[in-house]
Symmetry: D2
Subunit: 153 residues, 4 copies
């Protein structure tokens, strides 16, 4: 329990610090709603800057939302982790004004490799995208001085 509480606090510090430096995600309007060990939830309200020539949300925008949930979930342990390979299936279009939520969950982890599944839904609960990401842990920590911050509070 104590250990889990520690992992949760680490995840929250990592999430906060990553988000502060994450220009691309903030520029798009993606919000970090929740983070825990191997888990993250991100939200995005679709505006006119997110649509493509067909008048629906650009596939790259929805991918970025899903990829963000993947990235925060797999980095939440504070080990620097990158995407190696991702697959995305578009099940329904995202429309102007909709609120999209991406939930990312760890499905597998061994050594430096992980697999995460991310589902993007709209405010009615309809599935917009199913995404699977393969992560690879590299050198380094997302928040190198996390011990200091853990002791602070």
């Amino acid at each position: 329990m104590q250990e889990h509480k520690g992992a949760q606090r680490i995840a929250e510090i990592v999430g906060r610090e990553m988000y502060a430096r994450d220009n691309a995600v903030r520029a798009l309007g993606i919000e970090l709603e929740q983070i825990g060990p191997g888990h993250a939830r991100m939200g995005l309200t679709l505006g006119s800057a997110h649509v493509n020539s067909h008048g629906i949300a650009h596939g790259g925008v929805i991918y970025t939302l899903a990829d963000a949930a993947f990235g925060y979930a797999c980095n939440a342990y504070n080990f620097t982790t990158v995407a190696a390979q991702c697959e995305i299936a578009y099940m329904a279009p995202g429309r102007l004004g909709e609120r999209l939520t991406a939930v990312g969950e760890e499905r597998f982890s061994k050594g430096r490799s992980g697999i995460y599944d991310i589902t993007v839904t709209n405010q009615k609960g309809e599935v917009i995208v199913m995404f699977r990401g393969h992560s690879r842990r590299i050198e380094g920590h997302n928040v190198p001085d996390i011990e200091l911050q853990l002791n602070k509070t």
Copy 2:
């Protein structure tokens, strides 16, 4: 020859009109460099708005660049076509200031289904991303009045 010339002109008109309405792609700074039947090339110079918390290009940004090349390539015939499913493999990070180029090519087409391969390289020719997209033609045309425009010139 004549027929190919027509297909090339159609692709160019479609590309120009799609790009004018493609808010998400323009907002990110992605440029349409070339388009032809089943083919497109897009470029992006990586700026500070494109980086993630690790200081490298966000996976979603590079995906969007590749997806754009895919989208223009598969829509170049003027039949409205959407992405059904995509896979992306990250081979090397994109770095601030680099010029990325995404080249998309049709590999397979039958009925309403298509497969496109997109390769993203940097200015040194290093492969950044390998992307494969599965397209699905739906109802409608990207430029409904293309006949008028073809006759204009």
Copy 3:
């Protein structure tokens, strides 16, 4: 409850009849262990006919095991359903003498499209393969006269 019981009985009849005609799966020694609506479990003991030149289970053999769990899970409703696209990630090798189990579960279903996740583990519970399958319902039923069989018992 009654309805679920009906769906379970349909799945079992479909599984039995499909398996009787499924030469490729039987030739490889794959066993159907369990089937239900949108769910299937298959087993395989790795023998010398299953290994490749590296002395470990051939990737195609493990794929076939996972694909079989996918196929029975998505056909269990008695609507003829085929694989459109699949992704497989190899997490650990399968070794001679090991007992592999593939569990397939429906993750998404809408209209004629479905997504299924299949995990293959060995007898120690180690993950060998993570597989995601995209299904497409076509015309026809796996057991056309299922009503007769349902009434029989």
Copy 4:
């Protein structure tokens, strides 16, 4: 030229020795038709042992054929190489009596990682499957004493 000739001879020795030990591939009736550096072609005539309950070639059989072309292509340099992750898209069914040909080609190679594209066609040239494989070089050589064999002839 000389170097290429050496690489071609290495590939042929590796192919011959791998195939002799490759029980799973031989058991299925898959033939190695051609091998070169980063390239392989395999063939299979679809018989009654290859069909599934729908009466068409089992997805796992066609996968195994494509995966074999992938495996021989990426192992042809004599460095032991395994599949990390594969994607397969089924474009048309394989039918009893058809002759299928899988051609595998290297698309990317850097350090220990590679990407190969495999296309399976039937005797009429129709595309049956598009397959992309991600390879990973591990320790060891497929034919440890290849120098002896190269000098022999």
